[in-house]
Symmetry: C2
Amino acid sequence: MDLLLRDVRPVGGVRADILIRAGRIAAIGADLDAPGVPVEQGHGAIAVPGLVEAHTHLDKTVMGMGWYENAVGTDLRAMIDNERAARTALGLDPHRQSMRHALALIGAGTTHIRTHVDIDTDHGLAMLHGVLETRDRLAGQVDIEIVAFPQSGLMVRPGTADLLDAALAEGADLVGGLDPCGIDRDPKGHLDTIFALADRRGKGIDIHLHEAGDLGAFSLDLILERTRSLGMRGKVAVSHAFCLGMPDWPRTQAMIDALVEQDIAILTTGAPSREVPQVKRLVAAGVRMGAGCDGVRDTWNPWNRPDMLDRARIVALRNNLRADADVELALSVCSAGGAAVMGVAGYGLDPGCTADLTLLVGRTLAEAVADGAPRPLTIKAGRVTARHGAALTEAP
Amino acid sequence: MDLLLRDVRPVGGVRADILIRAGRIAAIGADLDAPGVPVEQGHGAIAVPGLVEAHTHLDKTVMGMGWYENAVGTDLRAMIDNERAARTALGLDPHRQSMRHALALIGAGTTHIRTHVDIDTDHGLAMLHGVLETRDRLAGQVDIEIVAFPQSGLMVRPGTADLLDAALAEGADLVGGLDPCGIDRDPKGHLDTIFALADRRGKGIDIHLHEAGDLGAFSLDLILERTRSLGMRGKVAVSHAFCLGMPDWPRTQAMIDALVEQDIAILTTGAPSREVPQVKRLVAAGVRMGAGCDGVRDTWNPWNRPDMLDRARIVALRNNLRADADVELALSVCSAGGAAVMGVAGYGLDPGCTADLTLLVGRTLAEAVADGAPRPLTIKAGRVTARHGAALTEAP
């Protein structure tokens, strides 16, 4: 894992070489000399730390399969039930599909993924097993963090809690949750269950919270209460958190202050059709904030792409980010921000950091982000994992 | 302008040939025979009527120039003033730039464009002259409709009304307007002026209305009042119309009913950071509705692309359109909807229609739209104007 990367512009700055030794950045400077070390030419491309997909569902995609004709509409419960049935009808293989999805992300410059994996009483741990196999197969190419996710509900489907516990025992990294009121109809029961699981197993939590306005604020308050009581500061994340987008400024400020106090992270997809947490405001307040593409080409919708630059654009459009500095903020949320949420050690483009990086073709960093620029090279811990937008490992 | 287009799937249906004679669709069917007529192979691609860019600004783009570093932020007045100064500082040539922009649109399958062109007391009619030259140069490749647009304000900049009148005399097709309250600070003065201009010259109107909520509803009411009084039913369009996205259902319903009564068209960009008119609701109510990419790669923001399939995706994301039928609705707004707003005669893919069409590579229509599919061929009145996403006419 030694590599000399010649002629790149670190985060859009002046041209330099990057010397990688034993998978870490050893030096950055002009005309570095490292006899015997393999060389890659950057041709003046911009180098940025690896992109971080911090909210997705590797077990859901139909990529590479027949076109999925969506006739479900937009009701959350209907979409959930439809998907649980469609998995069987389509013959959706979670290992094969998660390989396709993860390799597409690697091709697009991604070095870290947090994925939710459905755990339900129809399919048991089948999706977990498929994604665990993908994680093993892609070890050294991308780091995959797995959230055991009760997509179909927890209290409303007895047996799910035991499955979540089994998932944690078999390798899931975090406990997931979902709309304690809106889907599970029992916020106390839902949150007590997942917090108890996390507490007992010493795991973190990442909860899907689509609930908006007052309802979401209520659930968020219950989440804060349990985070505080159990001493889980810094170990909880809330995905979507649409309630933080409500227009009531003092109300949202109180929520943001409480998030900072308990160091609860927020993950956004920049959902264009919903109220969303405002990136600039939350980041300025000190909230750790990452982003994700959500499910890609699945039974939910056809629009999402496995590409964190595409997601930076959507987050930016939703947040009305226009100036170059704000374009760079959108990129930061889709890279360093996600890494902070995932607790990645040694992330960055400084000497000593792990050599996780991608190249972007563009004159300035903002241009590269706005263009969804070509990515000639992805490097994971000093190893080339993708060239010209395509992973070197062939997808099944 | 005779052409035999072999092996295409009209709007995603069964494979057929399309015979074009004298620029019109003469026949659609299997294995058509037309000795002596030039042949193009469709290779099974989907054929759709030409895409319609119904709200853009051909005079604003910096495409093909140096990267524009945006440090302005998001205040509307500040962005307007910044641009007026930047035109000179950047040496932005309106003919050259509008050629680049229009040719990119042709490459992406566009056959009709409605563009606003800035008219102000600093630059006079310079932008109009540049875009008129582009319209002449591209005659037969794309139809360009021009709105004389008082971007910097009308009542607040004396002399602008006379310039608008001169623009109409020199070839602009419609009178534009802009935020009668928010920017011009004189809604009665602003609207009386542009309606009088349109009435006297027998032209239509297309007003930018960013004003949201109650303010926008007030301005819309004044627009309705003048449309009714002057008998301009069917000749007025409102662009953006964020006020129609306000959550008050009976309030917006009353506005929609009034729009239908006066046949006022709505043009949307699906702005992800704003409340927007809901496409399904307005279309179902009978409002003529088109869409546009707005300004592309200009001093306002770096995100918009000259591509109506990209815009269909953004409109769909903003409107939470997911099912295949709704994906097709998003495409329809970006094609037939815009054509209806522009009053294009003979638009469509039926025998007798003008042969304005583009090919999309994809298994289904929804897949092609979701993918922003490759466009192997654009055809305008039977003439091939673009291949593989690039216009045949070279951009300056």
